[in-house]
Symmetry: C2
DNA sequence: GTTGGTGCAAATGATTTGCAAAAGG
DNA sequence: CCTTTTGCAAATCATTTGCACCAAC
């Protein structure tokens, strides 16, 4: 069973209907293999299915977010990027100066998650963080 | 010298001009003692100075952000909240379900900051983070 | 059938921008 | 003076919403 089929099955079990639009949205998310915006999803879906409105994409993404099948992250580009809930959660180091994006493995957050759970009983959603700062190159420039 | 005066002095040294609007924006940020949105700042400034446009507030905030005198954080309310660069940096635990906001001391991020510097030479801006998740109460509800 | 889902069009709301006038240094 | 800053109005642009119609189940 493909990943989209699994997702469709989950939707069905949660009492949601399976529509061609939703299947294609799931496929776009899966196929993106990374960040993708709502309008990009709409674009991709339209390639296979002529008419899909962005509002439908947003509504579907809302459902998927609530089911934790996708993550939403503001990378500071004005829009929000979505991502298929990654099998291996990760994060991003974004340089405020040059915009360079580096990936950060999830284990850097393990301890924080544990502490938040222990100290506050807070179940943090630490699955896709955008961390802003200065990359090595831009720090050197800033010092100059 | 008051805190706003210091800020004004920094602006001057950085080659920016001191205008009544900017002084009042600085005062609003300082006086807020916490999160404040661009339109709230505009509102407060107008109380003392009749005409100030939101665009001016945004433009000033841009300057202040670049000088690291204020932090900007998306707390998930549709707008961005600004805060006087806090003497004691802190973070927020925001419940995705009930919206409750708790404060988190900065030391929870000390280790992460060190690791990012050591492993990636990345100077992370970990001064005002919004962490989403479920608070204790909403976890119990979710389990029920 | 009933309920939820969709497209469309219009609204919302924060943020940005062009421009001519005003003010800081 | 010369440059930056401002107010105003208009433009952007992502996201949301009302509504009538359609499609899953």
């Amino acid at each position: 069973m493909s990943c989209e089929d699994e997702a469709a099955e989950m939707l069905r079990r949660a009492g949601h209907k399976i529509t061609p639009q939703r299947v294609l949205i799931l496929r776009a998310l899966r196929h993106a293999g990374g960040h993708i915006s709502a309008s990009q999803i709409a674009e991709q879906v339209r390639a296979a299915y002529p008419v899909v409105d962005v509002s439908t994409v947003y509504r579907t993404l809302d459902v998927l977010k609530r089911m934790r099948l996708v993550t939403a992250t503001d990378m500071g580009q004005g829009d929000v990027v979505f991502e298929w809930a990654p099998a291996t959660p990760h994060h991003h180091l974004i340089c405020s100066s040059c915009g360079h994006v580096a990936e950060l493995e999830h284990h850097y957050f393990d301890r924080l998650a544990d502490q938040l759970a222990a100290d506050f009983s807070f179940a943090a959603d630490l699955h896709h963080f955008a961390i802003f700062g200065l990359c090595r190159g831009c720090q050197i420039e800033a010092d100059a």
